[in-house]
């Protein structure tokens, strides 16, 4: 192992450029460690985002050697090509500065896809028992562990091509709620996801599934939404 890594980091806004840094190589080191080293020791003005460092919060995703990854759980040894690392802000989002991408549109679409739980009960009602073995709950559970990192969104060609497309994480979230028997907002949710640039615009490329760091399968969730909304449309319950 060489004792230094050659690291290129994106600096500036959308009109910025790559700047090279030499960072000491360590036995066990994540991409986030490398970025943090640059900020602590080489240039304190470097901007980037992280919080938990253990793959829970979803705030540290960046493009690493051209591929969107959660940097806190990505070991340099797995991704550095010949001791070289190129790190850029997430794709398909505007750059704020350096490695920080602007996720407002990402979360705006989350709301547009009705990714918010709509309670059907109040705090005065008794807690509803949910059987984890029902097919609906299993479908929701299979998609629920999303950490909102945006890796799938940055890797989806449809997002790149159609700026109105709701996006894999957003539709995946909608699918968990469609399968949540406690939710009261599914009529509006199904309308929201089956408008133009909604679930039916997904090409089933499966990049989202391939790249999702927690192993979710948004493609499958989106296929579920397509089936469900098609059935509702054919029954006349959905008027686009």
């Amino acid at each position: 192992m060489a004792d230094t890594l050659q690291v290129s980091l994106w600096r500036g806004g959308s009109d910025g450029r790559y700047v090279d840094y030499a960072v000491p190589a360590r036995e066990s080191q994540t991409v986030l460690d490398v970025v943090t080293y640059v900020q602590r020791h080489l240039d304190a003005t470097l901007s980037y985002r992280f919080a938990c460092r253990v793959g829970m919060c979803g705030s540290c995703a960046m493009q690493v050697n051209g591929r969107a990854r959660w940097t806190c759980r990505t070991h340099v040894s797995k991704v550095a090509e010949g001791g070289k690392l190129t790190v850029a802000p997430l794709e398909n989002m505007p750059v704020i500065k350096d490695l920080a991408a602007d996720m407002r549109e990402f979360f705006g679409k989350w709301q547009r896809a009705k990714g918010r739980f709509a309670p059907s009960k109040t705090r005065n009602d008794p807690v509803e028992p949910i059987d984890p073995a029902t097919p609906q709950r299993r479908a929701a559970d299979a998609a629920i562990e999303c950490i909102n990192c945006g890796v799938c969104y940055a890797s989806c060609d449809t997002v790149k091509w159609d700026k109105d497309y709701l996006g894999p994480a957003q539709l995946n979230r909608a699918w968990t709620l469609v399968n949540d028997v406690r939710d009261a907002g599914n009529r509006e949710r199904l309308v929201a996801v089956s408008e133009g640039s909604g679930c039916h615009s997904c090409h089933s490329h499966q990049s989202c599934q391939e790249f999702c760091p927690v192993g979710l399968n948004p493609t499958r969730s989106i296929a579920g939404l397509k089936r469900k909304s098609l059935a509702a449309y054919l029954k006349g319950e959905l008027k686009p």
């Binding site: 089956s194 408008e195 039916h200 449309y233 686009p240």
Partner: protein, 109 residues
């Protein structure tokens, strides 16, 4: 694409799958048998079955292709949606007219 366009695109695709197969078989048959243009026309002229077969085919193609072209234009050009919708409808209509003209030419007695 919204759910209605999606339904139409899938339905026309399902419809076209067997039609394309029959169409190919017909081509192979006609070529293999070495039919002349006159012999083919003798079989198709006045045939309600062939008229229906290719009429439905043309309708399905026009709808299917227009929806597909609309998606391509949305994803690959910066044109506004309204212009794209207009172009896709026009494209479908042109296909339908051209196709039905061809069908009429071979089935009308």
């Amino acid at each position: 694409m919204n759910v209605a366009l999606y339904a139409w695109q899938r339905a026309t695709a399902a419809l076209m799958a067997p039609l394309v197969l029959v169409h190919l078989v017909v081509i192979f048959y006609a070529m293999g048998a070495g039919l002349s243009a006159a012999q083919m026309l003798a079989r198709t002229r006045g045939s309600i079955a062939w008229g229906l077969f290719y009429g439905v085919f043309v309708a399905a193609v026009s709808v299917h292709a227009a929806i597909g072209v609309r998606t391509i234009l949305i994803e690959w050009t910066p044109l506004p949606r309204r212009a794209i919708d207009g172009f896709a409808i026009l494209f479908g209509l042109v296909l339908a007219v051209l196709g039905l003209r061809a069908v009429a030419a071979v089935v009308l007695p």
